[in-house]
């Protein structure tokens, strides 16, 4: 009776796996078919006549390398910004004592619950005024700090033995060297995992960049893809799928390399 029951559950879970993964597989498969082939053999997961035509058309229509570079540059900027401000802030919260600490920390955590609509108009005006429209910096600037990072770093710092920090103080090691030479190496797993998550999120970011990046030469991959769906692409799905396939490679590779780190840190972010 028992194994039969368990098999039923596995069947259900397998169906969920397929529902989540098959759309992606169909996407990749159809990106290697011509428009006609994709219409007539859309269920074929292995293309009958695999072709790179969509990728060639794509590289003629858009500056692919430029798109990839724009996205990479913006995501790197955001990731490095969030990591460094987060490490500094977490250090202050963990090792310095100051008045109103609880309130400042609360203000940081509360930012998670702020809808983007309540800041987007003034931020747009500020970025426009600073002449940063159509630049990666304009996208990155308002999001150079992140409460999740601070929370995860704090939790990791709390695990560092107090005696280690105290002996460093006794040896008169300046705080910036303590941070650079002792704490950051210990925090390496947290930095890698949250850094990977920051990078992936920024790589995929859509809403704020659509407001800031209007010029096609400054587009990131999600914006370019959106362009293919609404106007030029319209019904040419294989072409859009080719661009989307290019877009998902980077997050997938990061996940394959850091999968354990990433899942651990997602778990951690929930258990405050």
């Amino acid at each position: 009776m028992r194994p039969f029951k368990a098999n039923g559950w596995h069947l259900l879970l397998l169906v969920i796996c397929l529902a989540l993964i098959l759309p992606v597989l169909f996407m990749v498969a159809n990106s290697f078919k011509t428009l006609q082939d994709s219409y007539h053999t859309m269920w074929q997961l292995i293309p009958l006549h695999p072709t790179l035509k969509n990728y060639q058309t794509l590289s003629r229509q858009v500056a692919l390398l430029r798109l990839i570079w724009n996205t990479f540059f913006m995501a790197t900027l955001v990731t490095l910004g969030k990591l460094s401000t987060g490490l500094l802030a977490a250090y202050a919260f963990q090792y310095f004592h100051f008045r109103g600490k609880k309130w400042v920390y609360f203000a940081f955590v509360a930012t998670i619950f702020i809808p983007f609509t309540v800041t987007m108009i003034p931020n747009y005006l500020v970025i426009a005024k600073a002449n940063l429209l159509n630049t990666a910096l304009g996208v990155a600037l308002p999001q150079l700090c992140d409460a999740t990072g601070i929370m995860i770093f704090l939790k990791a710092m709390a695990k560092i033995p107090r005696s280690l920090i105290e002996s460093a103080y006794l040896d008169q090691i300046p705080t910036h060297r303590l941070l650079m030479n002792i704490i950051i190496p210990i925090l390496r797993p947290s930095i890698i995992s949250i850094g990977a998550i920051f990078f992936i999120n920024s790589w995929n970011e859509y809403v704020w960049p659509t407001l800031i990046l209007k010029d096609k030469s400054s587009f990131t991959l999600p914006l370019a893809l959106q362009n293919y769906i609404s106007s030029e692409g319209g019904t040419n799905f294989p072409l859009a799928m080719a661009l989307a396939t290019i877009m998902i490679i980077v997050p997938l590779v990061i996940y394959m390399v850091f999968q354990r780190y990433i899942l651990n840190s997602i778990s951690n972010s929930g258990l405050k």
Binding site: L13, L88, I121, L125, V126, P222, A244, I248, G270
Partner: protein, 297 residues
């Protein structure tokens, strides 16, 4: 000693400064400015703003389009709660307590769509669910059914857009909930098994109460993040249509601000959303924070 103290203070400021500066310039001041704008009639460009008092707020509740959007938002919340909270919760209970193998594999696979942009999700689902030439429509036609044209119906469009966010968020919420379930002390589970308490009673009486705070955290996250996530497929696929039928409060705010240039209306809507989220934050603190004895501070 005194100079030491002073140095300590300078260092504290120095370390907090970058985060505090960004928080102040790009979050706190903007919120205050949005509140200010919500009392004016403005078009984002004109040099002058007209003070209109509470009129923008009154419009939210009296204008039929706004009413429709508010109602849609409730619909979104209900659907998102079922799709992104209840279903992942049930599945995480199954994975934690009803199977004994492959838990790690399911976790890894379920999480994969969370890695991808919602623009990708929106595009693929627009293809799969295309009412004329999509694979599902063609399949249904072969067995004698037709796929309703969901882009023509606000309600169906909302279901479809929620399904797209569900594809992305399911694994993420599943991982969070599974973590919560995994932190329930094993001896409680074992004790129940020794006493031959039926599994559903164990879940109902022991597991759910013990996992309450994590569940509540994910529930609130589902509303707060879900409403923001769903913005992307709305903008990519329906642009809020047909006739505002699939718009929600966040999309309507964006539309007012950057398409219709009704900055005052947009600001009032934004402030309303902000207040609702603040209430949710308050509930989160009340039920979730402080459950840990060793909270970071």
């Amino acid at each position: 000693m005194n100079s030491n103290k002073q140095q300590h203070r300078v260092l504290t400021l120095l370390y907090l400064a970058p985060t505090a500066l960004i928080l102040l310039v790009f979050i706190i001041i903007p919120i205050i400015y949005t509140l200010y704008l919500s009392f004016f009639d403005w078009n984002l460009i004109a040099p002058t703003k007209n003070f209109v008092g509470w009129r923008n707020y009154l419009t939210i509740f009296t204008d039929p389009v706004n009413q429709k959007v508010l109602l849609n938002t409730l619909g979104y919340i209900g659907l998102l709660l079922v799709l992104n909270f209840v279903i992942p919760y049930v599945i995480s209970i199954i994975v934690q307590f009803f199977i004994h193998k492959m838990q790690g594999v399911y976790k890894i696979i379920f999480f994969i769509p969370s890695l991808f942009s919602l623009v990708v999700g929106a595009m693929v689902f627009a293809w799969i669910m295309n009412p004329v030439s999509g694979p599902i429509a063609l399949f249904l036609r072969q067995i004698g059914f037709t796929l309703p044209n969901w882009t023509n119906s606000g309600g169906l469009a909302i279901v479809m857009l929620c399904l797209i966010t569900n594809w992305k968020v399911f694994g993420y919420n599943f991982v969070l909930l599974l973590t919560g379930l995994g932190s329930i002390p094993q001896n409680l589970i074992d004790a129940a098994q020794v006493d031959h308490i039926p599994k559903w009673r164990l879940i109902w009486d022991v597991v759910l109460p013990l996992n309450k705070s994590m569940a509540f955290y994910v529930l609130i996250l589902t509303i707060v993040q879900g409403l923001q996530y769903v913005f992307t497929p709305i903008n990519v696929i329906t642009q809020g249509g047909p006739y505002y039928g699939s718009s929600n409060v966040l999309y309507h705010t964006y539309l007012n601000a950057f398409v219709l240039y009704k900055t005052g209306n947009a600001s009032a809507l934004a402030i309303l959303t902000f207040v609702i989220f603040l209430i949710l934050l308050f509930l989160e603190i009340k039920f979730v924070e402080g459950r840990d004895a060793d909270a970071p501070i």
